[in-house]
Amino acid sequence: MELQILDSKTKQKLCTLERISSNTTIDSIKEIYQRKFPNYYPERQSFKSSPKGKLLKGSETLSELNLGAEGVLYFKDLGPQVGWSTVFYCEYTGPLFVYLLFYFRLPYIYDSKFAFTSSPDDVVHLAAICHSFHYMKRVLETKFVHRFSHGTMPIKNLFRNCSYYWSFAAWMAYYINHPLYTPATFGTMQICSGLAVFVLCELGNLSIHLAFRSLRPSGSTQRKIPTATGNPFTLLFNFVSCPNYTYEFGSWVGFAVMTQTLPVFIFAFVGFGQMAIWALAKHRNYKKEFSNYPRSRKAILPIVL
């Protein structure tokens, strides 16, 4: 069959593809399209069967779409794309460096007489270790643990995400490493409990990430109902769909209590807000996809949300 490709916004004809068999997939169409327009790598192409319809999946074939003998597909440019891994590496290594700039009290951040000095408070050193551990863990998870179901995202997400992580890291680091920093009101007890919560939640978060990885066979994008494994941290699956987010929130609350720093609390809650939105969507998808999805499970906070 002959396939016309129109722009989904302007409806202008972009090109005609000839001699396309009806069992050709959208993925193959994208490769053919790239041969005609080399700048448009497949990740930035999207096709729809109607101008305002849904984006078509790569595995769908033309015959499934009922296009008829003279088929029309609508093309939308998704804009320059960047890989998920790339975005994660950038957004997570930034905070590692940024925090240390403040920890080592580089010049011009604080009063010049404090440049390259070290804090007398143990908790400040502990905080630097925890913060660095958190982001190092994230970088390593990106390399070795996570399996992404999408390959790319629009490049402006890179700038937006990096701004978020890097700015918050700077904001928190500024106060924790400030020469006028005030340690926890309730002293060692508060610092230790905050630290304990942080460590447990870091382990919990890692456990969930590992559980997600073993849930999905390598190279596939198949989805299954997540359940508790032998690791006790994964028991949280019995209560929420996204215990990784629950643990993440817990880590930052622990860190906030340990450092008794308002910007850390704010970061924890802003992060929670975003993760709650993601968790609610994932939870809704799970319930739609699996009719036998456990009904007592919530999205992100046991019993509550």
């Binding site: 106060y175 924790i176 400030h178 920093y181 009101t185």
Partner: protein, 232 residues
Amino acid sequence: MTAPQTTRKQSPIAQAWLIMYNVAMTAGWLVIGLGIVNHFYKHRTHKGLYRQVEKQLLFFQTAAIFEIIHAATGIVRSNVMLTTMQVFSRVGIVWGVIQPVAQVHNTEGIPMLMVAWTITEIIRYLYYTFMLLGTTPYIVVWLRYSLFTVLYPLGVSGELLSIYNSLKPVRDSQMYSLFLPNQLNFSIDYHIVLIGTIPFYFIFFPQLYFHMFAQRKKALGLGPPPSPKKTN
């Protein structure tokens, strides 16, 4: 100025509430307007103007928060985010810059923003009232979509001038500020926050101003007539 309110399938209670709200707001800003006119007639100076109208201004400008609720509950068809930003910026200026900083009360920005806001709001609430009642005299539509060309820059200038005049008193008094060391390990310098709001005026004003011109073209029917639907 948000998109005109439309009454779709309105509950009669919602409609009644909106009519009462808009009538009350029209009346309130008229009272403020009369207060301004009266003050200038008697004293021929902008000094003392704010003190004269302060109570009514605080009340009726703050009452605009209801409009956020109207948009959020859907009884008014307006974008919630946009409405929130507009109301907060007004309420912010009133409670954050003018009311707490006495040194600003007799500065030049005050009569500028008072005149701009008062005329704008009287016409805006009058316009909404008529829309709710079903018939809107063309003069009201024309005024609403024409006076902004002068009043919007006037109001923005008055606001910027007031913020500028508040900077030194705020810095000297350290009001609304928190400094280290403290148990929250947090600091905020209100003086810097105020300076930080100034660029946003320059970022948003052109967009909003030209958006109003586009709205004007549509509301007054000045654009090219809509093209007839293409038949193939």
